[in-house]
């Protein structure tokens, strides 16, 4: 933890901006550069920054859930995305899609999105597990 007023003030702003950006990157990933992995890394850096500025305990309050659980839920999301098709009788992880609209304005949503959210959460959870373990280690 760094006891710096500048860092803390900046972090308050940056955390929300970076998290917003990470969602943006996650969601646009299918068509533009981005995706769950990159988004997860961005979100993880945002939280790591928060932890450097305010300390690990503050980060835990912000996170609400233990990062290990976040990683676990991410794994479950990814597997659920795969099982969805298995239940429908296709091979494990076959993508399933729903489409709205017509022509250029068509909107697609499908299991790969759930899968990407899983990747996003696993990356956040795993990185923050390491960061918190290092910061909280009482020596």
């Amino acid at each position: 933890m760094m006891d710096s007023l500048i860092l803390r003030t900046a972090t308050r702003l940056l955390l929300s901006l970076m998290l917003l950006f990470s969602f943006f990157i996650l969601l646009r990933g299918h068509n533009e550069p981005g995706g769950g992995f990159i988004g997860g890394l961005i979100a993880a850096s945002a939280f790591a920054l928060h932890s450097i500025a305010f300390g690990p305990r503050a980060l835990r309050t912000v996170l609400v859930f233990d990062p290990r659980s976040i990683a676990g839920v991410g794994m479950l999301c990814a597997i659920a995305a795969g099982l969805f098709s298995a239940v429908m009788g296709d091979a494990f992880l076959t993508a399933g899609w729903l489409h709205w609209g017509e022509g250029d304005a068509v909107f697609h949503v499908g299991t790969p999105l759930l899968f990407d959210v899983g990747v996003f959460l696993v990356v956040i959870g795993a990185v923050l597990t390491i960061v918190l373990a290092l910061e909280e280690e009482d020596v």
Partner: protein, 793 residues
Amino acid sequence: MLSAILGIFVWSLLAPIVARRLPRIAGWVLAVVPAAATVWFVGFVPEIAAGGTVREVVAWIPGLGVNLSFYLDGLSLTFALLICGIGTLIVVYCGGYLHGDPMLPRFFLFILAFMASMLGVVLADNIVSLIVFWELTSVTSFLLIGYLHDSPQSRRSALQALLVTSMGGLVMMAGLILLGLTGGSFELTELVGQGDMLREHPYYLAILILILAGTFTKSAQFPFHFWLPNAMDAPTPVSAYLHSATMVKAGVYLMARLAPTLGGTEVWTVTLVSFGAVTALLGAILAVRQTDLKRILAYTTITALGQLTMLIGIGNTYAVETFTVYLLAHACYKGALFMGVGAVDHEAGTREVTQLGGLLALMPVTAAAIGLAALSNAGLPPFLGFIGKEFMYSSTVGLGEGEMALLGWLATAAMVASNALMIVTAGLVFVKPFLGRRTEAAGHAHEAPVSLWLGPVVLAGIGLGLGVFNGALERWFVAPVAASLTGAPMDVHVYLWGGFTMPLALSAVTVALGAAMYLGWPRVKAALDGIASALGYDSDRGWDRILKGLVRVALLQTRVIQSGYLRHYIMFTIGFTTLAVGGTMVVKGALVAPSLTAAAGAPYSAWALSLIVLASTVAAVMAESRLVAILSLGVVGVVIALIFLLYGAPDVAITQFMVETLVVIIVALVLARLPRLTAFARPDRRSAVRDGVIAVAFGAVVTAVMLAVIDLPIPLDLSEYFAERSYTEGFGRNVVNVILVDFRAMDTLGEILVVATAGLGAFALLKARPRREPPVGDTKTVGDSKPETGDRS
């Protein structure tokens, strides 16, 4: 057939609940499903006896040729009936024998799971399914042998059985896979047709040796016989079921199953006959040295397994007939004897033959069952055991009259000796405890409850019934099994009375010899003990020595390779990779000179970025402080990200940026935990030179690999394939991401599993290290060469 196996598996999972709810009648209730399976299999008997077979295939991993395919013919049906039938009796018996044991619910789970696995082994047609079920029997039998886990002796025996059988199983797996690849099919039924080709194949010997390693360990053939008597530390129902009637016969089953595919060659016959005969004789000799009833039976089981192996090896008509007769005879009388002895132990409180006597009046039903079974064991008419013994002599004599005269006569002599000793053991098990003078230990014994005598009575009764009504035996079992063993239907005849022949004469000799030895048992035992101590060889001790040696080698190797210093691990890993990759490239002539024209054509920005990378690297190497070193490396990473961006890979570039940022954060956090920089002394000259050499060599190899890779034309068909289908099938324009989350999502799933595991691993390392001892390899991990001595602040 899959439903039968799965049904019993599911039933095994329900068993603990049933056993807890209905503790008094759990055995009877739980026996319902095995009994139903038995009835179901009995329904197949007429069809199989008429020459039919049943095959059932459920695709499992069709891409790899792995199917859950099952095959029912004479051989597998006979085994399935033994497994389910005796299993039913055993489950009933367990309820009585272990009544009131707090771990009984778990016991039912294990024994039913074992039953299902064993059924899988004998029904499986696919090699891979066979291996899976085979290993399941090893695991479940480990749990059953180690049931009394409070006893170190019992734990040792369980581990020994597991190690011996699974070691053999591993070797056998190699053999079976080789068999499948050589024969071009992983279905055993299809391999039968490849028999002639396989027997001529150069791999034949390798396949045979590897598979026999598995079957010999599983079926306790010499020199792997030592684990079986130790496995008798398990409760009696386990011994009766696994170590007489079923599991140990898995090896015998597989040899019989493969007989039409691999059998009939000289090496097959010589190996199986000699190992089988030696095992049989050894088991019989060791049996009469014992005084514990259960251990006597354990060693006679080794004899029976040796005899069955020998019969498969001989493979003539008599041997094929004997195989079935003897298989059934042994399963019935040995199951009955084990359960009967368990009942005696349960009621009289001891299994020591020297302490038992006069139980006939006290336990008449058990006595009758054991008596009938012992007569079958001794091979007296009109029991099934008699037919088995007669036909066994006919088959070895037949071998002696053929081309392998010496082997045949030696086998005959070994059989006469072992069968005579079997008569001694039958006397020890029945005559002494039941007919002998009443002893003190027997004083308070009384008849066992019905659950304990039902099994022995039924099995002993079958042993008598099939011996008398041998026409049914011939039609229902001997003929179908013979067809499985030889690969073609054959004419078989089973009878009690074959006239005044050579086998009858041998039988007479056997009985006379056996009776004489029984009467002089104390002296025979003393003589054998004397010989044994003179030889001074004990395979059980030998096993201990092997295990100790193994542990010593492991410790030595750990000391050498696992020094506990991270820098040594990095040195070994990078040094080995450098040598392996660099060496291969030099040997294969894969070195490519860099193309100067391509370098000259690179844009100025690329040159500028490369120079920054170079400068930062030098800065990292020269840095006096860790922080500077880490930041310099961070610069290298960021610049590499810029290069990705320059060459049109934005996704990779962003990832690289983020990873670089996080690495700097994490390493900085680690650095904050390390001792002050005073301890970060400059490495001495020698280690600096050593590290420098390794680093430069590794860099050179990586560069050489890069040059070699870009020298090859990059195949574009895959990129085109993905680019084309990215939007039409994946509904995304970012090809990279569509590949990650859709086309190759399985790879990504694996990767995020690795990421999550890495996070947990780091957590475990940081949080769960021992507090008192100085932690290994954390404070001394950064590139200095002297161990840290400063305190960690």
